[in-house]
Subunit: 245 residues, 2 copies
């Protein structure tokens, strides 16, 4: 009997060329498919909720695969973790309806971007934070961030080399929170263009450094072109936190 | 003119054989002394507040060294970081009184031990947490933890191969706090014996797993011998957070 297994996956992206399988580079998807093969003996294709770029992390990536294996879903998690490297962990494995599709059924995604502020970098969190020599004008950043919510054309925030039917996306939540010497940017949307969160963060950092005014964000959503927006912030600060279904 | 520079240091201990210089192994102290040499041209000896074991991390280790260099203290931090590897960061460099001694003048130290709870481990925090398959009876653990505060003979909590004048230490604070799928044990004391925090944590985990009763902690401070206490928890969960002067 065919079954559909839904996985929630955490990974440190440092060592990988992103989520998606590709030639001549090691991807998270490939490593998990190999683990599935070693556990079930079947060459199953893993469907992720979407790609993450090279070096981007995840705490809540979701993927599904079909199998004829009789291993109960919760045991499947343990079995997969036993053959996965330490930088990829199955957080949860569940039995899913046969119609469940990790990409098509994803309704919202939540990303978090982490900045480490202060004069020097951080040793312990260096793989998951981007060091920004402060200070940033967080009042201006907060004002610029407000413009993101709602349905807009994010063409200015799409990295080169991507083709999509539409660059319109809806953002449900975008906010900054502060931790000890860290700043966290959380964004929830119905979908994200290639490099979109990283370009948004790069642009907001420009606002924080007073290189741009908060209102620029509204103009960039007019829409505008990629050249009008700020730089693409580094991959390692980004983490896919949650996929909503 | 001789100057005394006080450093606050963060490091990920994973790659090091601990703080203290030793033959045939790379220590944090050695790497920083080499950085001081490359910045000042002087072979200065670095005095740490105390050792940390192989694999133990620090967010607030303190050390001092003497130099004739004319580099201002704040620039010294940047210069040292430029020659240090990414897993060691100078968080602060300050001018100190010539009488300041990082070890002799340390009054209190704060350590934190981090457990990751839940069925599976963590990919992103695997270097700084120890995975414990729950659940732990945290009410019992909290009760056992209360016995630690005050002045006691911690002989039962000293690792083999250490010789000290006295095994009596004073604990000012010992408490557990909860984060998302994490448990943090914070302990502040006037000094710690070899492996002391790790043996305390190993013993408290035994209590949480109902292998011991909370009152055992009082008996272990009667005092008792090392064999009476629990196992030594792994190094990677431990972090020296702060040294008080």
């Amino acid at each position: 009997m065919e079954r559909n297994i839904r996985l929630t996956i955490e990974y440190e992206g440092t060592a990988y060329a992103g989520w998606q399988i590709q030639e001549n580079a090691v991807s998270v998807q490939q490593i998990i498919e190999e683990a599935v093969y070693s556990v079930t003996g079947e060459k199953s294709r893993l469907t992720g909720s979407g790609r993450t770029d090279s070096g981007v992390h995840a705490r809540g990536q979701v993927a599904n695969f079909f199998t004829h294996s009789k291993i109960p879903a919760d045991r499947m998690g343990y079995a997969l973790n036993a053959s996965l490297p330490a930088d990829i962990r199955i957080v949860e494995a569940q039995e899913a309806d046969l119609t469940f599709h990790a990409r098509y059924h994803a309704k919202k995604k939540e990303y978090r971007y982490t900045l480490h502020m202060g004069p020097h970098g951080t040793a312990l969190d260096r793989r998951t934070c981007v060091h920004v020599r402060g200070p940033l004008d967080m009042e201006a950043v907060g004002e610029a961030t407000k413009h993101l919510c709602g349905t807009h054309d994010f063409a200015a925030f799409m990295g080169a080399g991507s083709s999509v039917k539409t660059t319109v996306r809806t953002i449900y939540r975008a906010e900054w929170t502060e931790g000890k010497d860290k700043l966290y940017f959380t964004i929830v949307g119905n979908g994200f263009l290639y490099n979109m969160v990283r370009i948004i963060v790069g642009t907001l950092i420009d606002v924080g450094r007073k290189k741009r005014r908060p209102e620029d964000m509204a103009h960039l959503l007019a829409p505008a072109s990629r050249d009008d927006a700020g730089p693409t912030a580094p991959a390692k600060g980004l983490c896919l936190m949650k996929v909503y279904y």
